[in-house]
Symmetry: C3
């Protein structure tokens, strides 16, 4: 797990600065060996990369990329709180909320953008459970929001 | 708890084969003495038994039956991962997402289909907390999706 | 933490009687040092104080007040289950579902009603992660629903 940053680099990614919460809450809370991460939006340098309803304004591919960006932001939050990603034992759970236009039922394909990314970074330790559902609306009109639970050591 | 399968039989139910995930994730993850189960749909032998929006295409009764089927699938996932249901100490939490048509506010009655079922199977150990909410859309147009946390031993 | 009730009094609040579940589930389950609380509605003495869709029937301010009331109900549930609030170590996570009218994307401002309240009551121990999302519909047409995880001792 010590080579997570290297793996990110191989994927052409850099851990971003952890996004500031958009309200009066914490990005991460550790309790026991679990770290809970607040719902993350698909922002890059403060701008949403996937905005609007999936199936109408946003394609599945754009939303799946957004899910990946939101998951990357979740890792940035853990790194900022724990001082790095080296103590992650495994990803436990994702909650994936997809801003869904009428009749859009491919929430799973959107969520795969985050799930595949986490497996690419952590291997088997990145495999997780998830619930992917269609939200009526999301904060800032984000196309997707992802919350995360990870197991950590130390 | 050793007679869970017997209890299912008394209820006229058989633990189905665990449904395959519809994306790149795991059906169950155990961490410590908690087992997290991915969002389950109301499928029987691969076919949705409750499809569409509750309050319009689907009645409360059909959706409540779907919630029961989804919960049964959740138990099948735990059984497949742990090698049976005998090590379940209790059901801790359900997340219940109801594919809700305009103005449908009886999410609790739909969720009762799963909650009542779990109490029928496990008795007091089946009693749990839950959050029941209305989703705008759900994967594959399922009428309901249920995720689950259980406490296990061993 | 022993002066939580005093702090509530300073805020002009009294811990209400814990609302009865609106279905066949428990208000709280403790497992290990975590307490999971079922989704709470913004009811006061059995009546919703914020009902309908936020952005259309309900203002952000009304919904934020509703979020506070729902969070207070969550504390009442913990107090009823544990015999008081003195054993709360910290608030870990809120799930905030906002009954969102078309185009309403200020779920974070609604959720702040609960988050700010918990920090006012518990100080730093009240700071938590959260996921705030837009629900299509909510039970009883509540404007907001809040579920909660707290860490406890003893």
């Amino acid at each position: 797990m010590s080579n997570v940053n290297e793996r990110l680099r191989e994927l052409g990614l850099v851990l971003p600065e952890a996004p500031k919460p958009v309200g009066s809450y914490l990005p991460c809370v550790r309790t026991g060996d679990l770290v809970f991460v607040s719902g993350q939006l698909p922002t890059r340098a403060g701008t949403l990369v996937a905005k609007g309803k999936v199936g109408t304004a946003v394609t599945i591919e754009q939303a799946a990329e957004g899910a990946k960006v939101a998951a990357l932001n979740g890792l940035a939050q853990i790194a900022a709180t724990l001082g790095g990603l080296g103590n992650i034992v495994r990803i436990v759970r994702l909650g994936v909320f997809v801003n869904s236009g009428p009749g859009f039922t491919d929430q799973a394909k959107v969520a795969n953008g985050a799930s595949d990314f986490l497996v690419a970074v952590f291997g088997d330790a990145g495999r997780h459970v998830r619930a992917a559902v269609g939200a009526a609306e999301l904060p800032l009109d984000a196309a997707v929001e992802i919350e995360l639970i990870a197991q950590v050591r130390g």
